[in-house]
Amino acid sequence: MGDIAKYLGDAGTRSALLTMLLDHIYLSLVPLVISVVLAVVLGLACHRFRWVNTVLVSVSNVLYTIPSLALFVIIPAVIGTSVLAPVNVVIALTLYTTTLLVRPVAEALAAVPDHVRAAATAMGFRPWRRFLTVELPLAVPVLAAGVRVGSVSNISLVSVGALIGTGGLGVLFTDGFRQRYLAPIIVGIVLTMVLALVVDLILVVLRNALTPWTKAGRS
């Protein structure tokens, strides 16, 4: 405990921690946001065209077996980004999260009952408006559940980026290890978990705000 107090007592350390935390948030949440958008688009495509579904299922099965560490390094080699660019981590995590989200979204869209769709059409909704105001909102609970899993796993995966020098809280683990210094490691673990918890809380609040009807149904 004394060690941690001493470690956190230094103003320079605290500001470095803040930078790492912000990097971590950026590296884990940007992929989440991009993935949500991609998953909705791809989920819609899956729902409309059968073959997209087949392709996506096989691609995502393979993708999920590639270790994150390898993906972080292979991406710059394949698409020619700079080796240290944070964008490598962002792309890798976007790939993981998108594959995690697509299938549930496609299924949720497919699960919208035909009579709901028919009712919306009967009310004069054009297809795109029906999608945005009826079908998509009905898929929100499923989407939110997937996003929550994705956010937790992204937040914990970003740490691995420390092994290739991309920043984030993972640096505390490698630094602490080399110095045999537990304080930074403990601080890193705690910050990562608190971050995951806070983001999860925000996502739940967001989901509840976006799906007021579930509350009405419950009470």
Partner: protein
């Protein structure tokens, strides 16, 4: 280009003999993964059965085990290594077990929870005792989701065991880290391919084992459920 180099690395006879050969690393990797999944199952399956059966403390327990998912494995490995004064094997195993517990626990718990209440009540009506209901009715019905949880856990553990190389263990993470140090992409991609193959292989094996142990009548239901797996698991988490 890189992939051609990687294949060349994979086929290079130099990499197939000695203490750092591909077979040795595959073996070590496999041992750690099996140990971790087995260890996690010993903890998570009985726990999941108990809370699923009694319905006691389920939400809290599964919720807190899901908080474990946020625990960064690299952090845990480095922490345990230092605390245990350089005992590599145990520190890596514990970290991997911690990684594997949440999916297995969630799978088991959700499996038991999902059993049609009517079925359980019918069993009770037939005069089955609590443990008879658990072993003869609830467990077989929970198997599809339980096996799903095991498969998820295995995938994660196989991919993450690479981190063990950071504390000096000859897993398949070794070529990743070594290749990284000298930017030898052939090694990195070669190692990644091996890990992916191992993951796919184990997943197929578990799927097959699942087919053998899951009663035929349940298989159809299992297939549909597994597809929406991540979501179902997540829904159990809802404690915050």
């Amino acid at each position: 280009m890189i992939f051609a180099d990687a294949i060349a690395w994979l086929l290079d006879p130099v990499n197939w003999s000695g203490a750092k050969s591909i077979p040795v690393r595959v073996g070590v990797h496999l041992l750690y993964c099996l140990g971790a999944v087995l260890g996690a199952s010993l903890i998570a399956v009985p726990l999941g059965l108990y809370i699923g059966h009694t319905g006691r403390g389920g939400v809290l327990l599964v919720g807190s085990s899901n908080a474990l998912r946020a625990l960064p494995t690299l952090g845990l490995v480095t922490f345990l290594y230092l605390v245990m004064n350089g005992v590599q094997t145990v520190s890596v195993l514990i970290a991997l077990v911690v990684l594997a517990v949440p999916p297995i626990l969630a799978g088991t718990y959700a499996g038991i929870q999902d059993v049609d209440r009517g079925v359980v009540d019918a069993a009770r009506g037939m005069g089955m005792t609590g443990s008879q209901r658990l072993w003869r009715v609830e467990l077989p019905n929970a198997l599809p989701l339980l096996v799903g949880g095991l498969r998820n856990a295995t995938l994660q553990v196989v991919a993450t065991a690479s981190v063990a190389a950071y504390v000096g263990i000859e897993t398949l993470g070794r070529p990743l880290l070594d290749g990284l140090r000298v930017l030898d992409y052939a090694q990195v991609v070669g190692g990644a391919v091996l890990i992916a193959l191992l993951a796919v292989g184990l997943d197929l094996l578990l799927a097959l084992a699942g087919k053998l142990v899951i009663p035929r009548g349940l298989r159809l239901a299992a297939e549909t459920r597994r597809r929406v797996k991540p979501v179902e698991e997540a829904e159990v988490v809802d404690v915050v």
